[in-house]
């Protein structure tokens, strides 16, 4: 399978099953509409007849021989032989955990998928250090031989329960040697409660931090509001700046959400960059399509144009030595994840799980609050093996809409929680997310093409 597209003056061809990425000229690009395996040694006359009105014969014949050459090297029209690996995908050890350290929040962000912190459970609660320690025990137990274990402190707002965070981190560290584990901690925070002592602890112990801010003040303060309705921008920004300075501008993201209200979100990315941040993620809101700020299919042309604009600006910035990272345009064409990882993506419900303040286990943070998807508890160390198997086998080849999609090895089947929530089935990808993801992949690869010149 191949996927070809034109963007920003580049003709780009992706060979899906080898992962090869080619930048081609017009004759090669148009030739690919006319030919496919099995190939004959000479270019068919019918193909020449069709293209000779536009290109000279020698160029067509040269391009044809280059198609053959790439085909023989397995870099064009390479065969899809991954299904055999897909059928071997059994449950893996657990290795990553999202700890819902607080089902409470000191902001009332209007788009929050966690229903402003309580995950629609109707009660606000915090995780005890004891439950957190049980979760660490649970992770060690079910990680079997895995060495690298990841724990993300999430909420709600994790800084509302920071004493427990500290206690859990120290507990996990105390077990590393005995169990031959390496814990990598991360935290996602709105920043309201950040102070010097917390920053110092976080910077010492956390391998990555995610700092939530949406961009321009008016954009941030429209949706990221306090309980009294006032905006959060002015109070969090100085803290985020200080925190990133203290980290040496390493291993962090400022992360925002864009909605129907700011389809010019590239301005928010640029605003964050102008404040001195160079690791930026601004992501489309995940919401019920009926809410007023939801992104819907009718918004796609504008959102796509904005991704194009942002990509163009990023190329210019990179070339002028003032580049920055945009999470969704990051791609490493040579050293990305292996094909096995790409077959089933995020690993939710299999390698990754979320733990509620009560110690209940869910496939991921976005499944929390959907009681049917509860898959265990850290106190009795239960884990629903059947449900785990179900997620383990949810590969791109188990999803009808994915297996013949060109983007399958880039997105890896998308977000199972989105699929469940908006399509009623973890195996049915949510189309809107698919369209956005495909556009971002195209932009990311085009940026590579532009910077390779």
């Amino acid at each position: 399978m191949i996927h070809k597209y034109k963007q920003n003056g580049y003709n780009i061809v992706l060979d899906i099953h080898s992962g090869a990425v080619h930048v081609v000229d017009d004759v090669f690009y148009d030739l690919l509409d006319e030919v496919q395996p099995p190939f004959t040694a000479d270019c068919p006359q019918t193909v020449l007849d069709k293209l000779e009105s536009k290109y000279n014969k020698k160029d067509i014949l040269d391009a044809y021989s280059e198609v053959l050459n790439l085909f023989e090297k397995g870099q064009l029209f390479s065969v899809d032989d991954y299904e055999k690996f897909s059928n071997m995908m059994v449950a893996s050890p657990l290795k990553a955990m999202c700890l819902h350290i607080a089902h409470d929040c000191n902001l009332r962000c209007k788009y929050c998928f966690a229903s402003t912190g309580d995950y629609a459970e109707g009660k606000r609660s915090i995780m005890s250090a004891e439950t957190g320690k049980k979760a660490i025990d649970y992770l060690i137990k079910y990680s079997y031989g895995r060495h690298n274990l990841e724990v993300d402190f999430f909420g709600g707002e994790p800084l509302m329960n920071f004493d427990a965070v500290k206690e859990i981190v120290l507990y996990a560290r105390s077990l590393e040697k005995e169990h031959n584990k390496n814990f990598r901690f991360t935290i996602t925070t709105n920043g309201v409660l950040l102070d010097d002592a917390k920053m110092e602890f976080i910077n010492r112990e956390m391998s990555n931090i995610v700092l939530s801010i949406d961009g321009r003040k008016e954009v941030n303060d429209r949706l990221r509001v306090r309980v009294d309705g006032s905006g959060s921008y002015d109070s969090i920004l100085p803290k985020f700046k200080k925190m990133v300075d203290m980290r040496g501008h390493d291993q962090y993201y400022v992360r925002g959400t864009f909605t129907k209200y700011n389809k010019d979100f590239a301005e928010d990315v640029l605003h964050l960059n102008s404040l001195g941040f160079d690791q930026i993620s601004v992501e489309p809101v995940v919401s019920d399509p009926s809410v007023p700020y939801a992104l819907t299919e009718e918004d796609l042309p504008e959102v796509f144009a904005e991704y194009d604009r942002l990509a163009q600006i990023m190329i210019e910035r990179r070339k002028s030595g003032t580049g920055f990272n945009f999470f969704h345009f990051m791609i490493d064409l040579d050293q990305g994840p292996c094909a096995i990882k790409r077959l089933r993506g995020c690993g939710c419900g299999n390698e990754y799980c979320a733990i509620t303040p009560d110690g209940d286990v869910y496939p991921c943070h976005q499944f929390v609050g959907h009681e049917d998807w509860k898959m265990g508890n850290v106190y009795d160390q239960s884990l629903d093996a059947k449900m785990k198997d179900r997620f383990a086998s949810a590969t791109v080849y188990g999803k009808e809409d994915c297996k013949n999609c060109w983007a399958k090895f880039y997105c890896s089947g998308g977000c199972n929680a989105n699929s469940m929530q908006y399509c009623g089935d973890i195996l049915k990808p949510f189309k809107l997310s698919c369209e956005l993801e495909k556009k971002r992949i195209e932009c990311a690869i085009m940026i590579k093409a532009a910077l390779a010149e």
Binding site: A96, N148, D152, K341
Partner: protein, 47 residues
């Protein structure tokens, strides 16, 4: 080649045979908690 410039040397098929150690980061542990993106993750062995 005159008509084609190939940007990468990666071969996913080779990675399928050698891969799957499971030690790399889960994608939702990076910046995205809402929009699954996998191709931008790193292989643990190439860090």
């Amino acid at each position: 080649m005159k008509h084609v410039k190939t940007l990468n040397k990666a071969n996913l098929k080779e990675s399928a045979v050698k891969g799957g150690c499971g030690e790399c980061q889960a994608s939702c542990q990076s910046a995205c908690k809402t929009s699954c993106t996998v191709a931008n993750q790193k292989c643990e062995h190439t860090k």
